[in-house]
């Protein structure tokens, strides 16, 4: 009679054959889903907008959500729905440019300082100084200095955020620089430029990308706060923060002026945070993921 042998070795199987590995991460999926939802709804919303974002209609002011004004009207009769859609687009565009440019700037600064002690001292001191000033205050001060135009919001936020990216890049680059393979590259005769851009740069991408998603989320929040304080996007251009400011003034009578822009801000930032968390878990080499392989129970 054959003795029954228990299979004591764990059996690994790939749970879904052709699925890209990053879709396994729940946070990533949900974050991406929320973001996609926001982008698509804004796309759709802008196509369906029957009303002018600046068109005032005092007769219908402060009316609750109804058939022709899906999100109601504000205190001068403007259609809140179209304004919210525009505001979301504006915030996303500003967030995108701020993030992209400060990422590029931060990456450049972070990489360059690994190779020059002098530049390291100067540039990192500047970054430390900028970093020490609390973001909102620095943004307010910069907006006061540059003048209230949308382009200046982008410039101000870039100055606020690039130091944090530069720091992350620098600390990762410093670590990589000490590794043996860099030394061997130098022995083979590679010049500094080549080493920095072809070898160190790809290895700083992981923490950089995670930091970049945080910066995107933060830039949306800070832009909204700036506009809420009246120091950001100038009236009457609708930004999510401006809309909340208008909503605050009419909060007794018109909850829709506050709730709808607010919901969109939360969705965007939530989506970005989820995506960032998921990305961090996915890219973290220390986590116990099995890269798509799951133990058969």
């Amino acid at each position: 009679m054959k003795a029954e042998t228990k299979n004591i070795l764990p059996v690994y199987r790939r749970s879904s054959f052709m699925k890209p590995a990053f879709l396994y991460n729940r946070s990533l999926r949900r974050g991406a889903f929320i973001l996609l939802f926001v982008v698509l709804s804004v796309f759709a919303g802008s196509l369906l907008t029957p009303h002018d974002i600046l068109g005032m209609d005092p007769v219908n002011r402060l009316s609750a959500p109804n058939g022709s004004h899906w999100f109601g009207t504000d205190n001068v009769g403007r259609d809140v729905f179209s304004r919210v859609m525009y505001g979301v687009r504006l915030s996303l565009i500003i967030g995108f440019f701020v993030t992209a440019i400060s990422a590029a700037l931060g990456l450049a600064v972070g990489l360059i300082v690994t190779y020059s002690k002098a530049l390291d001292h100067i540039l990192m001191r500047i970054c430390d100084g900028l970093f020490a000033i609390p973001s909102i205050l620095l943004a307010i001060a910069l907006m006061a200095a540059l003048g209230q135009k949308p382009i200046n919001v982008i410039i101000a936020l870039i100055l606020v955020f690039f130091p944090s990216i530069a720091r992350v890049v620098r600390s990762q680059a410093m670590m990589i620089k000490e590794k043996v393979f860099i030394e061997s590259l130098r022995a083979q005769g590679a010049n500094a430029f080549r080493i920095i851009f072809l070898h160190i740069a790809p290895n700083v991408m992981s923490p950089l990308i995670v930091q970049v998603t945080h910066v995107f989320a933060a830039s949306i929040l800070i832009e909204a706060s700036l506009s809420f304080l009246g120091a950001g996007i100038p009236e009457p251009l609708p930004s999510l923060g401006n809309l909340m400011y208008d909503g605050k003034l009419a909060i007794y009578n018109a909850w829709w002026m506050t709730v709808f822009p607010g919901v969109f801000i939360v969705l965007i930032v939530l989506g970005l945070n989820l995506f960032g968390d998921g990305l961090r878990d996915y890219l973290d080499p220390k986590s116990k993921k099995l890269n798509g392989l799951e133990k058969a129970k």
Partner: protein, 317 residues
């Protein structure tokens, strides 16, 4: 240990110098001449020129910086022409409400965070945990003015439990003082709680997987006892760091919440100064706030060294 403190204090100097520089540059590239703003459009050029000399604006830029910096070291942050008093005084007057708000908010945040962090870690993976993670994520995604607006809508407009906005100083009685601060403190406190809960939860989860916890379980200690008496103390270190760092952000970031609830704190001071081009106040307050922030971070680091013997001993050579 004293050596460590000294070295840290010294490293602050270049940072503060850069901050002074940055603040000065920012303010001075701002368009708009303060003298013209004060006197109004109808003023004659001589009047403007006289006022400029009186305000010290005629001197070359680097001399203005040097004299400003020099005054700084003597504790003179300049006088606000608009407010008619020294900047330092204006700052100290507006400091009270902001600090009250920040302390109240942080207490609420820490208490909520510890409670929910423990619940989340105990029920890791289950529904309670998932809910807490979800709500924390929501908490860090919501801007403070939105949460504040919603709380105002619910608690001050619909159910008229608390006042919508305004402030009463401590001297007018503790209950009145608290009444006006509760809604803003809950607003900020909930956001703080979200930040701290995430750290508490993850730190506690890491600690609970350590060997000494297994020993405690093997000895037969009840789970609550293990968590409260052993695991919590160990996992508290990173939580403390987060508490310290977020407190600095709280004091400074309360600006927006103060604007919403109409609290005469530092945030309002700076915002009104910016719209009036009150150079002295802007420079002085940003500088003072940054100094406070930097010193707070230093304090947290030192506290870390006091609490964790490992950090203390690594500086013992």
């Amino acid at each position: 240990m004293g050596n460590y403190i000294l070295k840290r204090l010294l490293s602050l100097i270049p940072v503060l110098a850069i901050v002074m520089f940055v603040v000065f540059i920012i303010i001075h590239i701002t368009p708009g001449d303060p003298a013209t703003i004060v006197l109004g459009e109808g003023a004659s050029p001589e009047q403007i020129k006289d006022l400029r000399i009186k305000m010290g604006l005629d001197a070359p830029i680097y001399l203005q910086f040097v004299s400003w910096a020099g005054n700084l070291f003597q504790g003179d942050f300049g006088d606000s022409y608009f407010l008619g008093k020294p900047v330092l005084n204006a700052f100290l007057e507006n400091l009270g409400p902001t600090v009250s708000l920040a302390i109240l908010a942080q207490i609420i945040g820490v208490v909520l965070a510890i409670v929910f962090g423990i619940i989340a870690a105990k029920n890791k993976g289950k529904f309670k945990d998932e809910t807490i993670i979800g709500v924390s994520l929501l908490g860090i995604s919501i801007p403070s003015f939105l949460l504040g607006s919603l709380l105002i809508l619910i608690f001050a407009v619909k159910i008229q439990l608390f006042p919508v906005s305004g402030y009463q100083p401590l001297s007018s009685g503790i209950w009145g003082h608290l009444k006006y601060l509760i809604l803003p403190a809950i607003t900020l406190g909930m956001i703080q709680a979200a930040i701290i809960t995430r750290m508490t939860r993850s730190s506690l989860i890491d600690t609970l997987s350590e060997n000494f916890i297994k020993t405690a379980k093997a000895k037969g200690l009840k789970q609550n006892s293990i968590i409260l008496k052993h695991a919590l103390r160990v996992s508290f270190l990173p939580v403390l760091t987060v508490i310290g760092e977020s407190f600095g952000g709280l004091v400074t970031g309360a600006a927006v919440t103060e604007a919403l609830f109409n609290i005469p704190g530092l945030g309002q001071l700076i915002i009104s100064a910016v719209s009036r081009r009150d150079y002295a106040v802007i420079q002085g307050s940003i500088l003072l706030i940054t100094i406070t922030y930097v010193l707070l971070n230093l304090l947290v680091d030192l506290l870390y060294a006091v609490i964790d013997p490992r950090v203390r001993n690594s500086y013992r050579s």
